[in-house]
């Protein structure tokens, strides 16, 4: 999935001048990854800010992955799975939903901008929806600015 190939030269020049957020995206293999692939095949444009990590199910996501990403310096984290009721493993996404609820509440409580971490459902046929959500998330994180909270003293 090589996004830069779809960009025109003009847009690339614009991107170089501004800071582009780096967002890590955990996509479930059966729905969201397929949905992102569909967006690419259909040539739907969306910002090249995400780096995808494919997981078998959104229930595989350990809250560590999300928090460690923030500590390592990623500006944003997106987790996407199948809609409730459509999970390939029946209830994996329901398990994940409870975990994400608690994680988001705790992150907000600690004062870590909870808008850096997003959870969404995206199905395999929803290429355009996937692109729209990524556009929305990139815009939100761009407004928040770079992630500087956890910098280590090297």
């Amino acid at each position: 999935m090589n996004l830069t190939e779809t960009k025109s030269g003009q847009e690339e020049k614009n991107l170089e001048k501004e800071w582009e957020p780096k967002i890590i995206a955990f996509l479930c293999n059966w729905c969201s990854y397929a949905g992102a692939d569909l967006a690419g095949v259909s040539r739907i444009q969306y910002p090249p800010s995400i780096r995808v990590v494919r997981v078998p199910c959104s229930g595989r996501i350990n809250p560590f992955f999300i928090i460690k990403s923030l500590v390592d310096g990623w500006d944003g984290v997106v987790v996407s799975g199948c809609h409730p009721g459509d999970c390939h493993y029946i209830s994996g996404n329901l398990v994940a939903r409870r975990r994400f609820a608690i994680l988001k509440d705790l992150l907000t409580f600690f004062g870590i901008e909870s808008d850096r971490v997003h959870f969404m459902w995206a199905s395999a046929a929803a290429g355009e929806r996937f692109a729209n959500l990524i556009k929305k998330i990139t815009k939100i994180i761009k407004e928040l600015g770079p992630n500087k909270k956890f910098q280590k003293n090297w």
Partner: protein, 355 residues
Amino acid sequence: MNEKILNKSQISKLFETLNKDYNFFAPSKEKGNIIFKKINDSKEIELDYLNSKIPPKEVVFPRIDIIFEYKINGKDIEIVNSKNLEVKNIIFGIRPCDAYSFYLFENFFQFGKFKDELYLKKRRGSLLIGIGCNNPRNTCFCTSVNGHPFKKEHLDILLVDLGEKYLVEPITEKGKDLILNLEWLSDATKNDIKKAKDLSKKAELTISTKMDFKDTFKNLDSNFNSLLWKEISESCLGCGTCAYLCPTCTCFDVIDENDHYNNRGRRIRIWDTCQFCLYTLETSGHNPRDAKIQRCRNRIMHKFCYYPKNYNLIGCVGCGRCIQFCPVNNDLRLIIEKVNKIKKEKEKEEMILSV
């Protein structure tokens, strides 16, 4: 007569003078805890204290010590910033028991043919200005381990609190040189010196905890598998507080921290404690000290059996921090009492049998 007087109002002047050439460490209050930290303003110095929570070993043996940093360029690794170890520190307000612990460190860090430069250079560059304990705590027992609340032996300069002023007594050559450079200190009178001697005697009499270590080494050596250890470790949490706050504990771990996004990293040395279950975990997965009893026993054996075996010294300075801060009040005094009693009961048995 070498003794001088330092008025308590002159402490900030002392700090301003010494801060020019030295890193000045002194007790300071942080979030309700007294710790030794580098002072930037004389107002931070807190001298109304009995002893610090974290021992001053942190100055010469920091909790996080960077050994070296490295950068990765393709297939080459470049080691950068080899630590600059030439430091000039002054540790002001250290108590004689903690100063004795620095002497015990010497045995550990230069035993055999490997000298630990990381520690030794910092120690050589540190000057110890101690203050005698006018009011030892109920939990202090320095006199039971070859110590004294006014012990001069391991300090460079000893201060005695006479109320509004300190009596300043240089002990080593380094201490004498430092005092010579502070010409504005007034001379001490014979009365001052007598008052200091009286305070020293009074402090020694105040120490209420007296522990008898005569038989401890022998009993520990021959009762490794005694059921007594079960009783002693029953309430222990295995939290490591005693080891982290102990001035003589030196165990450390060496780990690498990797920043693979930026192709750099560093190797650091951090405090470790035998109370953690990972401490003796081997790569094979076997752990010789798997159970809490073994780890709890190891600490007592190390301080009161292995240390005397290796260095002919008791590995304890009598500061009492482990007694004061143990979350479950696992009192060292009771432990040593129980250990000492093992032999006596055996003796009694033998006597009865012989009659």
